[in-house]
Structures are given as structure tokens and as C-alpha cells.
């Protein structure tokens, strides 16, 4: 459907973080994603909205599921999707980043989807290219599409975001997912709680509008959503807790701790899960309450919505043809 006002409703060239998006813009994105959820459940999943558009998945850090989700999103909208996984040496990767951006830019892509191990790297790259850039995760900074897909999952199950109590538990310190979710959920009027040992809580994080807890039972008490995070051991230098066994004992989600939450509380996890470390297998696979697989489904729809909205703002977009 043609909508000549869409640019005014979502006037962003890139999607680099949740910060800077208004609640109206987030709602618009989620509304559009809703439509794509239905489309993705049809036999014919393909649209021609992005016909002729080139989308490059530029991944400096390996991630099969996010990359595949973006690839499917682009293809289902009829775009040409190319995957590039860039292996980098630790010293020269910065030069490679700018050089790669320049090279790719010369090929006139319409959207670059970028994942990078360093916070801020995607923003740096976005300043060097003419196309739209979507942040598919940068360092420990942001992962906006993950927060959006989490929001879509929650909204579909609970019918709203405002007023909900959401506990984000686990390795907050190293989590870009947590930062983007705090931004999004507080913008939408939800109450956000963070639960982790003190070593995994970043400095002054409560100033982002979240409450901090160090006990699972206190933190998830009366919560509507319990969002578990993966322990990012690859980002950890030195010991942040004594042992995995001890971590699970105090901070792993099992039925005993879950009893503190509301009886209909949803269990979420951005994946991939460390079963028996941050989440008990029985809880993870409790399909009455765990929406972990649904999150993956919503991921494709949300990414389609992002591609849809951002390509409408490209300078060579022809709105009349939409």
C-alpha cells in the first residue's frame, strides 16, 4: 500500500540503536512487523517490495541465526541479499572496516546490515556510506532488532508493553541485548529490572531507568516477563563469578526461582542458550511459558519491517511505486 506520509512517521536513515526512536516510531515498526508475521505464515511468503534493491549482510563477527534471519527478511521482500563474513585480525580490523565500507559503497548497495565486535563500529561505518545501515549488534552497545523482536513477542502475548514488569537476568555487563531492551522497554512505559551478581552489572546502569537486583527471587517477584541472557564467557577477562555451578545455583532460572514471578510470566532468551548455566532445560522447553522459539519467528518479521521502513527513506526511493 502506498503511504506518502511514511517518511514523516519514520524519518531515520539508519537503524543504529533504540536510543533516538520515539514510542510512536517503535509502535509503527511493531505494527508493520505484525503484518509480516501473517505473511510469513502463508505458503507464498514472497513480496516484491524490495525488488531491485541490494542488501548486504556484513558480519565481522559470526552469527548464524541473526544473519539467517536478516537474509530471510530481505529475500521475502524480494531484495537481492548477499552475505559477507569478514574474518579479521585483531590489529588491522579497523582499517579493514573503513576500507570495506568504501569498497562496498562503490557497489551501490541499498542496505548494509552490519555486525561488529566493537561498540560504535557500526556508527562509524554508517558515516562513510550512502546507503541505509542496520545495526545487527555492535560490541556491548546495541542490538536494536533484537529488542524490537522481543517487544513484538511480548506485545502479541500480553497485548501491551506499558505497565508490564520485565526482569532481565544474567550477564548485563556484556550484553548489547540488555542495553537495547532497557531503552526500548522504558521508552514504551514498562518497568525494567536487572538481576545479576554485582560483577555483571555495569556502572550506573540504574540511570538508564532500570532497577537493579542481586537476588533472582526478589528481582523476578511479580514480573510478567523473565528475560534470561546468555553468559558471554568469550567477552570475559578474568573471573566474574567462581564457577558455573555456583552461578546456576544463584542466578540460573529453574522452576523454584520462577515461582516468584507471576503465574503467567513469559520466559524469554535471545539465544543461543547455555542450558544448565543460565537456564534449566525443563524451563527453556516449557512451551506453555517459554516463548524462545516465537522470538526467532518474530525476528524475521521485525527485520522485514525495518528493511521496509528504511528503504522508503532512501534518496533513490520512488514513493509513488510503493
Amino acid at each position: 500500500m502506498s503511504n506518502p506520509h511514511i517518511n514523516a512517521l519514520f524519518p531515520h536513515r539508519h537503524l543504529l540503536a533504540i536510543e533516538g526512536l520515539s514510542s510512536q516510531e517503535i509502535t509503527l515498526l511493531l505494527d508493520i512487523a505484525e503484518g509480516y508475521v501473517e505473511q510469513n505464515r502463508q505458503a507464498d511468503k514472497k513480496k516484491s517490495l524490495l525488488r531491485g534493491r541490494t542488501i548486504i549482510n556484513l558480519f565481522f563477527e559470526a552469527s548464524t541465526r541473526t544473519r539467517t534471519s536478516f537474509e530471510l527478511a530481505g529475500k521475502r521482500l524480494g531484495g537481492d541479499v548477499i552475505n559477507m563474513t569478514v574474518a579479521t585480525s585483531s590489529v588491522k580490523k579497523g582499517e579493514t572496516l573503513i576500507d570495506t565500507a568504501m569498497t562496498l559503497n562503490a557497489m551501490h548497495p541499498d542496505v548494509l546490515i552490519v555486525r561488529h565486535q566493537d561498540s560504535g563500529a557500526v556508527k562509524l561505518l554508517s558515516e562513510k556510506v550512502n546507503c541505509a545501515v542496520i545495526n545487527a549488534g555492535d560490541g556491548t552497545h546495541a542490538h536494536p532488532t533484537q529488542a524490537l523482536l522481543d517487544a513484538l513477542t511480548i506485545r502479541r502475548r500480553k497485548g501491551k508493553l506499558a505497565g508490564l514488569k520485565v526482569a532481565i537476568c544474567g550477564d548485563i555487563l556484556h550484553s548489547r541485548v540488555a542495553r537495547s531492551n532497557i531503552e526500548l522497554l522504558t521508552t514504551m512505559g514498562a518497568e525494567v529490572r536487572l538481576v545479576a551478581p554485582k560483577t555483571l552489572i555495569p556502572t550506573a546502569v540504574e540511570r538508564m531507568g532500570a532497577k537493579v537486583f542481586h537476588s533472582m527471587k526478589d528481582g523476578i517477584a511479580d514480573c510478567d516477563i523473565v528475560m534470561m541472557l546468555r553468559l558471554q564467557t568469550e567477552r570475559m577477562q578474568g573471573g566474574f563469578f567462581p564457577s558455573v555451578r555456583e552461578y546456576f545455583h544463584f542466578f540460573g532460572l529453574d522452576y523454584e526461582k520462577l515461582a516468584a514471578a507471576k503465574p503467567d510470566a513469559l520466559i524469554m532468551h535471545p539465544g543461543p542458550m547455555n542450558r544448565g548455566v543460565e537456564i534449566d532445560s525443563l524451563v527453556a522447553d516449557d512451551y506453555g511459558r517459554s516463548v524462545i522459539r516465537e522470538q526467532v519467528e518474530m525476528g524475521v518479521a521485525v527485520r522485514m519491517a525495518c528493511l521496509d521502513l528504511l528503504t522508503r527513506n532512501l534518496p533513490n526511493s520512488d514513493l509513488k511505486n510503493l
Partner: protein, 438 residues
């Protein structure tokens, strides 16, 4: 008076000046006469009867005439990293900033842990004839923090102090021995205070900003702990120690207490730490990536208080040129450091314009105070002393535009900022080496 000068060769008269000498407290209208490389005379009454015939006259037009600036912390990058900066480019930047003496850090390639490098720098600087260049020797061989460098021999060949540059001497035993050994001569050691195991992989100040940006933080305690440890070692050994670029309020408090106990401790800070705070990092702005990192507003304010109270002895530019390839990188990969020679005076004068310091007190921090800490014959107006001078307009407003600065690298943390106070002319050994708009 006019007949006092029997010959007029080699004489230059600077008239119609506001003479400023922080060492003696002089702030008066007057004139100055240089004879060859030295100051022949100066004062409010000089040339009351007119300038002797045949003496070239430089009209200062009522502007400030002060001792040339002494910058005790400069990285010149030569030898070894000439693509970032050279003695020539740093010399030009220095003179544009009113700096007539600068002391360079030993983190060159090769490091200044050998007499031949000290002599190489001295020879190159002499040939260039720009600002005077002194250098520090390394405390440890190769700045590796393990074995003591030849401190005594380096001092004999001209090193004015000893430091491992941007690296802390981490090993307490090595630092203890360095303080003990240097106290036999006695020589000054300069420490970059940062406990590296606590700083870890941090890239900016730990706090809300770092958390929001997803960048790993360096806690302020990394600096404070190292200062507290070293104060104990000074107490143990009787050495002389100077802390470079202190950046936290607690550091100032700890140093103040040590000074009260009579220990031979001094310290400096750099303009970014009293004029900027961590907010400058903004959207991953790598020009604001410095070591130590830019701190919170409360720390910035505490550093200003430290300057006002006199606990902080010196302001140094901490000039650290980095080429574009070192800065145009994701924040965590980008190199630390910012250039500062050309903005040293203007940003320091900001303290005067803000009402924090009087003009002479601000000038003292960048002239006679660093000269006294290092024992250099510079930084004051004195008959017979070298005619190293700066003429500046304290009120002139200009905007720092990195691209137009003379430094080879352009990584100024003050890029795009309006500042007040401009160097008009710089004189080294009686020769004009910089003139604005010339």
C-alpha cells in the same frame, strides 16, 4: 636612558607592552630590550625617554608580553613515528602555541633509554632552531618496566627527568629501586599513574556514559591507587616524584595530604582534564579518547579546584599526535591521545576568563612552575636570561579548527571549540620564530 646603550647591534626593543612575569608578580605597562639571545632589560620605565636610534622596534600594541611557555609533556614521535609528528612539526606547533621550551617523552622508537637518542634529539632540535627541546630519559630499559635504564648517564647527557612515558612503572619493587637510585643524584621521576590491572581493557571513564555506549570503563580508582602506592614508596626511599596528568578529584586530595607531610611530590594536569569531561566522547568520538580518560564533571571541577588551591603545580599540554589511521577506527581500537601544543595557552586562559584564576597565576602554571619542577633556566623575565618570549592577546576569540593547526597530526580534543586568547608572536633566543598571519 636613551643614551645608555652605546651600541645598537643585536638589540630589539619591544615597546608598548603589558609586561607579565609570574615569577616576580610583575604586571605593568612597559618595554623590554633583548640583546642577541638574552634579555638586556625590561620594566615600566625602560625607554621612558624613547628608544635609542637605530634599534629595531616591535610595537606590542598594548598586548601581553610574557616569558615563553614551558611545556613539560610532549610526544614528538621522532625518531620512529615520523608519520605522526616530527621535531620540525612539533617545533612549529609549539611556537604557534607560544611554547619556547618543551620536554619530550621517551616513548620514541628507539626509546630514549640510551645516550645516543638524547644526543640525536638535541642535535636535530638545535638545527631546527624552533622551540627548545629537552627530553626525559626512560626509567626502565625499553620502557619495559623491568630493569633500570642508565639513569645517571642519561642525566649527564642532558635528560632532565625520568619517566616511562605513557606507561606506569607497575612493579612496586622496580619503582622503589628507581626512586632510591635516582635520589642519589638526585633526579626527578615522573609517573603516569594508572594501575593497569584495574584499568583492564577499559577505553573510557567508567560510568553511565560508558555503560550507555557499551564501552568498557576505566575506574578512577586505577589512578588513585597508583598515586597512593607511589606516595608510600617516596616516603620509603626519599625520592622525588612527579605525577603526570592527574584527572580525578581524589588524586588531588591524596597528593595534597602527601605535600602536607613534606614529601617531595609534585603533579601536573593537562587542559582536557580541566576543560572537558567524559561527555565529549559523545557518539564514539575518538579525538576524545585520551589516557587517562576524560572524567566526570565532578572530577573536572575538582581539577579546577586543585589548580586554584595550588596542589596541582603545573599544566602541561600532554601533546600526543596520532595520525588519521590511528584515530579513524572503532573507539575501542583507536589510539589514545590528543594534540595540545597550539591550544595550551588559550585553554589555560579559559580559567582566567571563567574567573577561576588570575592571569599571572594561570601563566605561572605554564611558565615558571614547570621550569622550576624540572630545574630549567626558563619561564621568567630576568636580565641576562634567554630572550624566550611570547606576545599574546588574552581576549582574542578564535575557533580551534584541527585542519588549520600546524601540528602534523590533527587529533585535537578541542576541535571545533571556540577559545579565547591568541598567540601573536613567539620569540626564542631573541629571534621571532612565529608571527600570527605572517
Amino acid at each position: 636612558m636613551a643614551t645608555r646603550w652605546k651600541h645598537t647591534e643585536n638589540l630589539v626593543a619591544y615597546v608598548n607592552a603589558r609586561l607579565l612575569d609570574p615569577a616576580s608578580g610583575l604586571d605593568a605597562k612597559g618595554a623590554l630590550l633583548s640583546e642577541g639571545e638574552t634579555i638586556a632589560d625590561f620594566g615600566p620605565k625602560l625607554f621612558a625617554d624613547g628608544v635609542p636610534e637605530g634599534v629595531p622596534v616591535i610595537d606590542c600594541k598594548g598586548m601581553c608580553l610574557a616569558p615563553g611557555l614551558v611545556d613539560m609533556r610532549v610526544q614528538v614521535r621522532e625518531p620512529g613515528e615520523e608519520h605522526k609528528g616530527t621535531l620540525a612539526s612539533s617545533g612549529r606547533a609549539a611556537t604557534a602555541g607560544g611554547v619556547t621550551s618543551m620536554v619530550c617523552l621517551p616513548n620514541t622508537h628507539p626509546a630514549i633509554d640510551d645516550m645516543s637518542v638524547v644526543e640525536f634529539i638535541a642535535r636535530r632540535a638545535r638545527l631546527l632552531g624552533l622551540a627548545k627541546v629537552y627530553c626525559y630519559g626512560a626509567i626502565t630499559k625499553g620502557l619495559a618496566g623491568k630493569e633500570l635504564a642508565e639513569i645517571g648517564l642519561l642525566a649527564e647527557s642532558g635528560a632532565v627527568g625520568f619517566t616511562d612515558g605513557e606507561k606506569s612503572v607497575v612493579d612496586a619493587q622496580v619503582m622503589r629501586r628507581a626512586l632510591l637510585y635516582s635520589s642519589t643524584f638526585p633526579l626527578l621521576l615522573i609517573q603516569h599513574p594508572e594501575e593497569p590491572s584495574l584499568a583492564g581493557s577499559g577505553v573510557m571513564n567508567a560510568g553511565e556514559m560508558a555503560t550507555r555506549l557499551g564501552l568498557s570503563g576505566i575506574p578512577r580508582e586505577a589512578e588513585i591507587i597508583m598515586i597512593e602506592r607511589d606516595i608510600r614508596l617516596v616516603e620509603m626511599t626519599g625520592g622525588r616524584l612527579h605525577f603526570a596528568h592527574v584527572s580525578t578529584g581524589e588524586s588531588v586530595a591524596v597528593i595534597a595530604r602527601a605535600k602536607e607531610r613534606g614529601l617531595a611530590i609534585t603533579c601536573d594536569t593537562a587542559p582536557p582534564y580541566f576543560a572537558l569531561n567524559e561527555v565529549e566522547v559523545g557518539d564514539y568520538r575518538t579525538f576524545a579518547k585520551l589516557s587517562p580518560p576524560l572524567r566526570s564533571e565532578a572530577d573536572r571541577a575538582a581539577i579546577v579546584e586543585g589548580l586554584k588551591s595550588g596542589v596541582i603545580d603545573v599544566i602541561a599540554s600532554d601533546h600526543a599526535p596520532q595520525d588519521e589511521d590511528s584515530k579513524r577506527l572503532p573507539f575501542s581500537q583507536a589510539a589514545c591521545g590528543g594534540i595540545g601544543l597550539e591550544t595550551l595557552l588559550a585553554v589555560t586562559l579559559g580559567l582566567v576568563h571563567n574567573g577561576d584564576l588570575k592571569l599571572l597565576d594561570a601563566l605561572k602554571l605554564i611558565t615558571v612552575a614547570p621550569a622550576d619542577v624540572l630545574g630549567l633556566p626558563a619561564g621568567r623575565l630576568k636580565k641576562g636570561a634567554a630572550a624566550d618570549l611570547v606576545i599574546f592577546d588574552p581576549d582574542r576569540v578564535w575557533k580551534v579548527e584541527a585542519a588549520t593547526l600546524l601540528s602534523k597530526s590533527k587529533n585535537s580534543p578541542f576541535d571545533e571549540r571556540p577559545v579565547q586568547g591568541r598567540v601573536l608572536r613567539t620569540i626564542v633566543d631573541g629571534r621571532t620564530v612565529f608571527e600570527l598571519d605572517s
